[in-house]
C-alpha cells in the first residue's frame, strides 16, 4: 500500500533516473561476475619442497577444487630395487626422504632382517635408534624453520639452518655422510661410534633443546602465526585415518598412535622414558605444535640412550654374500615424516623380487584435494607447509 503510494509519487524524471541506476548496477554486476579462475602453484615453489604442482580452481579468493600433479621427480625406485642386491638397495632408498635419510634405511633393513631371521646385537640397536632419532631432529628442525618462513618470518629459517648443522656434523662424524649415510647393515651397523662422540652429542642435544625454546618464543606465541594457523586446515581424526595420514599429521588430530611405542621392531625406544605427544585440534597449528614437542622428546630419548648404551659387538653373524630366504614381510617404522614401511617379496635370490615402498608423504599429501576445498588462497601455502612433505618421499 505504502509502496504503491510512493511509486505514484515518483515523478517521471525520477522514475527514469531510477531505471538508469538499476541498469548501471546490473551492468556492474555482470562485469564483476566472478568466473572460475585457475591458479597454478609450482612445480617450483618454496612451499613444495621439491617439484609439486598444484592446480587450484578458484572462485574469487576461495578454492573450489585442487588437483596436485606429481611425477616430476619420479625415479622408479621400486623397479630399480628389483635389479639390485639387498645392500645396494640402501643406497637408493637413502634418497627418498633426503633430509632425514638414515631413517629411510632402517625399515628396509628390518624387513630384510625379519626375512633372514637375524637380529642386530643390542649395541647396534642402540646406535641405530640414536641415529634414527637424530635424523628426525635433522628433518623436523627444517620444518620448524620453514613453517615460519611460509607465514612470512624469515628469522626462524636461519635459526633452523644454523642449528641443524650441529646435528648433521654429528651424523657425519659417526657415519661419514652428511645427507646419505648408507650406514645401516643387515644384522647391525657399519661402524662403531668415534671417540668423543657421546660427549659431543650431549652438548648438541642441549643446544637443540635451546633451539626448540627459541622457536617456541619466536614462532609459536606469535600473534600473526596463530592467526594464520589456528583453525585452518582442520582434519578430523576419522578422515585422517581413512586417508592413511601418519606421524604428526594424525597425532595433531588427537590420535594417540606412534609405531615407535605401539609396534617396536628392531629399535629400543621403549627402553627409555618418553611420551607420545598429541593435540586435539587437528589444525595447522596442532601439527606444528606436535612436531615441536617431538623434536624436544627426541633429544630426551637420545640423552637417555646415551646413558645406558651397552657394549659388545655391532654386527650379528651374517653371511658375506647376502641371500634372503624366500618369503614376504612388511615392517613399518615411525619416520620423521610419518609411517614408512617396505613390503619385500623375496624368492631366495640375491635381489628382492618386489619392493613396495610405503612412504609417509604420499598418503599425507593425498588428503589435499579434500582438505584444500573451500580454503582461501593464502592458506593453501600454510596448510601445505603444515602437512610437511618431502617430494622425494611422494615420488619415490
Amino acid at each position: 500500500m505504502e509502496r504503491a503510494v510512493s511509486d505514484a509519487a515518483l515523478s517521471n524524471r525520477e522514475q527514469l533516473s531510477y531505471i538508469a541506476a538499476q541498469a548501471a548496477d546490473a551492468r556492474v554486476n555482470v562485469e564483476l561476475e566472478t568466473e572460475g579462475m585457475t591458479l597454478n602453484i609450482g612445480p617450483q615453489h618454496p612451499a613444495t619442497h621439491g617439484t609439486l604442482r598444484i592446480i587450484a580452481k578458484l572462485d574469487g579468493e576461495q578454492v573450489v577444487a585442487v588437483d596436485p600433479v606429481m611425477g616430476y621427480m619420479h625415479r622408479g625406485y621400486e623397479k630399480l630395487a628389483e635389479v639390485r642386491t639387498y645392500p645396494q638397495v640402501t643406497t637408493l632408498i637413502n634418497r627418498i626422504d633426503w633430509v632425514g635419510s638414515f631413517a629411510n634405511e632402517v625399515p628396509f633393513i628390518l624387513t630384510a632382517e625379519r626375512l633372514m631371521e637375524v637380529e642386530a646385537p643390542p649395541r647396534a640397536q642402540w646406535i641405530r635408534t640414536i641415529l634414527f632419532e637424530m635424523s628426525r631432529i635433522a628433518n623436523i628442525t627444517l620444518f620448524l624453520g620453514d613453517m615460519g618462513l611460509q607465514v612470512g618470518a624469515v628469522t626462524p629459517a636461519f635459526f633452523a639452518f644454523r642449528d641443524r648443522e650441529h646435528v648433521l656434523n654429528l651424523i657425519e662424524s659417526a657415519t661419514g655422510g652428511r645427507f646419505h649415510p648408507n650406514f645401516d647393515r643387515i644384522g647391525g651397523i657399519k661402524d662403531d661410534l668415534p671417540a668423543g662422540w657421546i660427549t659431543e652429542t650431549r652438548r648438541v642435544m642441549k643446544k637443540m633443546r635451546k633451539y626448540c625454546d627459541e622457536i617456541e618464543i619466536l614462532v609459536e606465541g606469535n600473534e600473526i602465526f596463530q592467526a594464520r594457523t589456528r583453525g585452518i586446515g582442520v582434519i578430523p581424526a576419522n578422515i585422517g585415518l581413512s586417508y592413511g595420514l601418519s606421524g604428526a599429521n594424525i597425532r595433531g588430530s588427537g590420535v594417540d598412535w606412534d609405531v615407535r611405542r605401539d609396534n617396536p621392531c628392531g629399535m629400543v625406544h621403549n627402553e627409555t622414558d618418553w611420551k607420545v605427544w598429541t593435540h586435539p585440534d587437528g589444525d595447522s597449528f596442532a601439527r606444528f605444535w606436535v612436531r615441536l614437542q617431538e623434536t624436544r622428546e627426541s633429544t630426551r630419548i637420545i640423552d637417555q640412550l646415551l646413558d645406558n648404551i651397552p657394549s659388545g659387538p655391532i654386527m650379528a653373524k651374517v653371511p658375506r654374500i647376502i641371500k634372503v630366504p624366500a618369503g614376504e614381510a612388511y615392517v613399518e617404522t615411525e619416520n620423521p615424516l610419518g609411517v614408512m614401511g617396505y613390503y619385500v617379496i623375496s624368492k631366495g635370490e640375491l635381489v628382492p623380487y618386489r619392493v613396495k615402498i610405503r612412504s609417509a608423504s604420499f598418503n599425507n599429501i593425498s588428503i589435499t584435494p579434500w582438505l584444500l576445498k573451500g580454503v582461501y588462497v593464502p592458506d593453501i601455502i600454510t596448510i601445505l607447509a603444515s602437512l610437511y612433505f618431502i617430494l622425494g618421499d611422494i615420488d619415490r
Binding site: 621400486e78 628389483e82 585415518l241 593425498s366
Partner: protein, 216 residues
C-alpha cells in the same frame, strides 16, 4: 605375547564367517603378521568389513604384484657374458609361483590396513585374471586408496570399477606400457649395458693403446 596370536587367528575366523566362500586362503605368522586372499567379487566387501566390522580404520597402501619372473634377469649381463653363454637371462625360469596365501593368476593386487588401537595389520590379496584385470575400487571405503589405485593402474594396468578418475599419476599421460610389470624392460640398462664385474670403460685421459704407457 601369545594373546596377539589368538587375536590374529580370531581375525581370520571372523573374516571367514563374514565372507564365506569369498575368503580363499589365509596365512598367520604367529606374533608377526596375517595374510588373507579373497575372491575378486568380495574385494570391496572385505574392505568394508575390515573398516566397519573389525575397526581397521587406517589405510596403509594398495599396490600390485606381477608373479611372472622377468625374462631379462637383472639386465646386468655384459656382451662378453652373452657371447660366452654365461648370461643369467638365458637361464631364467619363467614359471609363475605365487607367494604367501597362494594364488592362481599372474597378477595380484594387494593392500594393507591397520587397526591402530590393537596394533594389528593385515595384508589382503586378490587374484586378477589376465583377460580382465579389473576389481572393485576401494575409494568408497577408504578415500586414501584413490592415488594408490591410480598408481597401480598406470604401473600394472589394473582397472578399478567405480574409481572417480583413473588417470596417470606419475607418468606422462601418453606413456605406453606398464613399467612395474616384470616383462617391461629396464630401459636405463638397455641403453647402456651393465659393464659386468670389471669396468672395462675407458677413463678420460687414458691412452687408447696399451703400449702407450710403455713407450714413455
Amino acid at each position: 605375547m601369545p594373546d596377539t596370536d589368538l587375536a590374529r587367528n580370531e581375525l581370520v575366523a571372523r573374516f571367514a564367517a563374514h565372507l564365506g566362500d569369498g575368503l580363499l586362503e589365509s596365512h598367520v605368522e604367529p606374533d608377526v603378521d596375517v595374510w588373507l586372499r579373497v575372491s575378486r567379487e568380495s574385494w570391496r566387501e572385505a574392505a568394508e568389513f575390515a573398516k566397519n566390522g573389525l575397526g581397521f580404520a587406517y589405510f596403509s597402501f594398495l599396490s600390485g604384484i606381477d608373479w611372472m619372473p622377468s625374462p631379462f634377469g637383472r639386465e646386468m649381463d655384459s656382451q662378453i657374458d652373452i657371447a660366452l653363454g654365461n648370461d643369467e637371462a638365458s637361464k631364467i625360469d619363467q614359471t609363475i609361483v605365487q607367494g604367501i596365501a597362494g594364488g592362481e593368476t599372474r597378477f595380484q593386487a594387494f593392500a594393507r590396513v591397520n587397526d591402530i588401537v590393537n596394533g594389528l595389520g593385515i595384508t589382503l590379496k586378490v587374484d586378477l585374471p589376465d583377460d580382465d584385470l579389473s576389481v572393485d575400487s576401494w575409494v568408497p571405503v577408504y578415500p586414501g586408496a584413490n592415488w594408490h589405485e591410480r598408481e597401480a593402474w598406470e604401473m600394472y594396468g589394473f582397472s578399478f570399477n567405480d574409481h572417480p578418475g583413473l588417470r596417470a599419476l606419475y607418468l606422462p599421460s601418453d606413456f605406453e606400457g606398464h613399467p612395474l610389470r616384470k616383462d617391461y624392460p629396464l630401459l636405463a640398462r638397455r641403453m647402456k649395458p651393465w659393464p659386468g664385474i670389471v669396468d672395462v670403460e675407458q677413463m678420460p685421459g687414458e691412452d687408447d693403446n696399451e703400449d702407450g704407457a710403455s713407450s714413455e
